[in-house]
């Protein structure tokens, strides 16, 4: 058993550009999501249907989460945070479809997201506070804290990405092990636990942490 992404091919034959099963899954996911959004857009109505209502509830939930930490900026950050919620959320349950894997079971996916959040929050911090105040923030509350603050900041994307990655992979490993011992009964509730329940909690945590990093970065 070899958990983790499997390399299926190499882009242009270059060994530095592997195409993994998680990458394929995330491409497929992006295409499906875009198609879904496109079809939904064509059918948007003032009086919503079931699917539109469900999507509205999800987006309203995300917006309310943003609003709770970044008051008045829910609309502004909705595309970024909403896409994180949708992409990570769907990725985490994608593995339930036979033959597909969870893109979030690949550290490259979660780290990519986490680095984006990190860079975006740093950018917003510099933009809102100005470079001087931004750099000064690393010397708070006293000068000696500078290395700790820098480390703390750099640790953010790592903890952010590994938390989700670890949970998804850990759940996957446990299920894989149990498949070998109890192939018929046990995996079903465990799939529910790891791929649905735990996954949604992890997605929620991932999204909330993204919002809180942005919130911390732009707050005075």
């Amino acid at each position: 058993m070899q958990p983790g992404p499997k390399v299926l091919a190499y882009f242009l034959g270059n060994e530095n550009l592997p195409i993994t099963d998680t990458l394929l899954a995330s491409w497929l996911l992006v295409i499906l999501l875009i198609l879904f959004a496109y079809i939904l857009k064509k059918r948007l109505k003032i009086v919503p249907g079931r699917i539109q209502a469900a999507v509205e509830i999800i987006l309203a939930f995300v917006e309310s989460q943003i609003e709770s930490m970044l008051p008045g900026e829910g609309r502004k950050f909705l595309p970024f945070i909403g896409t994180i919620f949708i992409f990570v959320g769907v990725s985490t349950v994608f593995g339930l479809i036979p033959g597909l894997v969870n893109p979030t079971g690949d550290i490259n996916t979660t780290l990519g997201m986490a680095l984006m959040v990190f860079l975006y929050s740093q950018y917003l911090g510099i933009k809102r506070k100005g470079v001087g105040t931004y750099i000064k923030g690393f010397f708070e509350p006293i000068f000696l804290m500078f290395p700790m603050n820098v480390l703390g900041e750099l640790a953010k994307p790592i903890s952010h990405s590994f938390r989700l990655f670890g949970n998804v992979v850990g759940g996957g490993i446990i299920i894989t092990l149990l498949y070998q011992f109890f192939p018929w009964f046990i995996p079903v509730p465990l799939h529910f636990w790891f791929d649905i329940f735990s996954a949604f909690i992890q997605v929620l945590i991932f999204g909330m942490i993204a919002i809180s990093y942005i919130s911390v970065a732009i707050s005075d």
Binding site: A37, Y38, G112, L115
Partner: protein, 165 residues
Amino acid sequence: MININWTLIWNVINFFILMYLLKRFLYQPLLEVLDKRTAKIEGDLKAAADEKEEARLLKEQYEAEMARAREKALEIIAEAEMRGKERAREIINEAKEEARRIREKNLEEIQLAREEARAQLKEEIATISLFIAGKYLQEQLQKEQQLQLIEKYINSLDRGKLGEV
């Protein structure tokens, strides 16, 4: 298991493409719909409130008009009653006046008739009196004549026959 490679960049690119397209296909149109719905609901609620207010005003106006109409009706009835009473009084007065007039006229006529009757009676009495007087006189004369005749006769008798008696 942990192998950081180009998949990371690919996934970031994926994410940006997804974000851009979802923004175009999902967030913006959906938020527009939500805003439209909010505007529509607010508009509908406002319209409903306006209509309710309008209905309330109309009701108030209607009730006020009804009250005014009732008052007016009462006024009209009272006025009609008053006018009726006045008219009745007038009619009664007129009738009384007429009755008085008729009575006076009748009295006058009676008086006149009486006067006339009295005059006539007087005349008749005079005539009768004259007549009676005449008669009486005539009778008296006749009586005297008769007495004379009787006396004459007696006298004649006396002379002729009395001796025999």
